[in-house]
């Protein structure tokens, strides 16, 4: 019989602790598949900071370290200096990257660090239990905004791709979504390009995944996919915000 599919050896053969309908697993697999296809799995070092995905090293079959909340881009910058020939990436959630770690991500981009950041934007704090994130949508309920986020009290949601695209050192910036097979395929292409940008030493590369959190959104998994499509994509437009000419 002809084998038509195999799980990448970049993923360890274990069950993840992520909730049903959460797209962390999809994002993990896309990244690992790209590294395997690039032949870089054994040549990669990654950083997973605080958030649900701090345990990403239990699933990604590569050298990894945890980091303090928000500091992954700084940690990755340090790693990159020691190992200029390795592939280095961070995998960060929205509370981590867009709130407590906004200084570190801006300055890693500003320095043009030759690392890649994968940004999981699910518009909520997952690990701590559904608090409002900088990316929580207006009107969206959170445990620290029980009647829904208001512009008056909380400001408007932060668009990180648009922000980072203004920084010269961020040479590849793209937003993708994980809500449909078609979008997942596009996401994989963006991951691949981000790694190629890094391998070519062109500068900082950034991919934002619009992702789901059915548990903290209080929605069924299929409803969560609808939420990404109906609510998130209109506010967070998909597409490339910046790329080197040859890409």
């Amino acid at each position: 019989m002809k084998q038509v599919f195999a799980i990448t050896r970049g993923m360890l053969p274990v069950d993840t602790s992520y909730c049903p309908g959460c797209t962390h697993g999809v994002a993990h697999r896309l990244i690992m598949e790209c590294l395997e296809e690039l032949g870089e799995l054994d040549n990669t070092i990654a950083v997973s900071p605080i958030g649900c995905s701090i345990v990403a090293h239990q699933y990604m079959n590569i050298d990894m370290c945890e980091s303090a909340h928000g500091r992954a881009p700084a940690v990755a910058s340090g790693i990159r200096r020691v190992h200029p020939d390795k592939v280095v990436f961070t995998y960060q959630g929205d509370g981590d990257l867009a709130s407590i770690g906004v200084g570190e991500i801006i300055h890693a981009a500003h320095r043009g660090e030759k690392v890649t950041t994968f940004f999981i934007n699910n518009a909520i704090y997952g690990m701590t239990g559904g608090q409002m994130a900088p990316t929580t949508l207006l009107g969206q309920r959170a445990t620290t905004a029980i009647n829904g986020r208001t512009k008056e009290s909380n400001g408007s949601p932060l668009r990180m791709c648009e922000l980072l695209a203004t920084i010269d050192g961020a040479v590849f910036v793209e937003r993708v979504a994980l809500n449909s097979p078609g979008n997942v395929r596009k996401a994989k292409k963006a991951v691949m390009k981000a790694f190629e940008v890094q391998k070519n030493g062109l500068g900082f590369s950034f991919v934002e995944f619009l992702s789901s959190c059915p548990t903290n959104w209080g929605r069924a998994p299929y409803e969560a996919m609808e939420f990404i499509k109906e609510e998130m994509i209109p506010y967070y437009p998909l597409g490339n915000f910046r790329k080197p000419e040859e890409f």
């Binding site: 799995l41 054994d42 040549n43 990669t44 070092i45 950083v47 701090i54 345990v55 090293h57 079959n61 590569i62 050298d63 990894m64 370290c65 945890e66 980091s67 303090a68 500091r71 700084a74 940690v75 990755a76 910058s77 340090g78 790693i79 200096r81 020691v82 190992h83 020939d85 390795k86 200084g103 570190e104 801006i106 300055h107 500003h110 320095r111």
Partner: protein, 358 residues
Amino acid sequence: MEKVLMKGNEAFAEAAIRGGAGFYFGYPITPQNEIPEYMSHELEKAGGSFIQAESELAAVNMAYGAAAAGGSVFISTSSPGVALMQEGISFMCSSEVPVVMLNVSRGGPGVGGIQPGQADYFQATRGGGNGDYHVPVFAPASIQEAIDMIYGAFEIADKYQNPVMILADGMLGQMMEPVSLPEAKRMATYEEIRANKPWAITGKGPRSERNVIKSLRLQPDVLEAHIHRLFEKYDRMEKELVRYETYGEPDPEIVFVAFGTVARLVAETMDILAERGYKAGMIRPVTLWPFPFDAFARISDKTRLVVSVELSMGQLLTDVKAAVCGRVPVGLINRTGGVVPTPVEIADRAIKQLKALD
């Protein structure tokens, strides 16, 4: 060996490079700015890498990343900067990542001032970060001693896989003294890192197991076992690293305890007291953690008073009291906020305290 006249901060930086530091991450803060300045042009000449970080918080996390990757890392800052770095220090102790840190300390609390202070004693020895951990703290009294400590600290950090702190002060950072510089060590190659630091995240490569450096342990029993293992290591450090020096003749009636530059002031105070007919001695803790409790066994029946002399409000005093353990009265002679007492002032206050015992 030929001597050169060097400013403290520049000598500290050069000692780190010669000790094998390949990576330095820093943020400007007085009175240690000459260190990032020096590193920015000298480290790359030695084959290393320098980043002017966006904050001390970023600097310590860059240090964590570079050290986790197997690099030999040096960072420096001054008191408020150490406060910001505590997140990383606690994290590195938990994840057992070796880094050499230098605090060219100043007066506090808050922004405080930029003149010399020792009010970081608690921050250094008690740990300002969260959780159960220890960091060995070395307190140099001269630029030469600081050079030797920094140079040697990389091996200590690597041996115990733990951060090591050098606690200097603004006076030592800004002054100049003739010094001898040790021979430069070569930066480790990638292959040497893989061989000598098999735990480091270097990319899995041909290694059979991948490496993971972590701090999170959600199961209490697992975390407790990890902490117990760390404390077995700290117990070894206490035995193997503790250092102190004693000064003066046997059976002094007054014993001063002072560290760092203050011990130099007290050395002059002892001369003044000798002229005035008092027999004085001094214990100088060279390591602040582990604290040299054993040194206090030498206090004799003739000793009437032990005095902590410090640039803080009785921080060193707490350890001195614990070490003396009620055998003789313990006094405090201190200035703070960046004020440095003169040796004469220390002598006058010491005599007053001795007379109060009569």
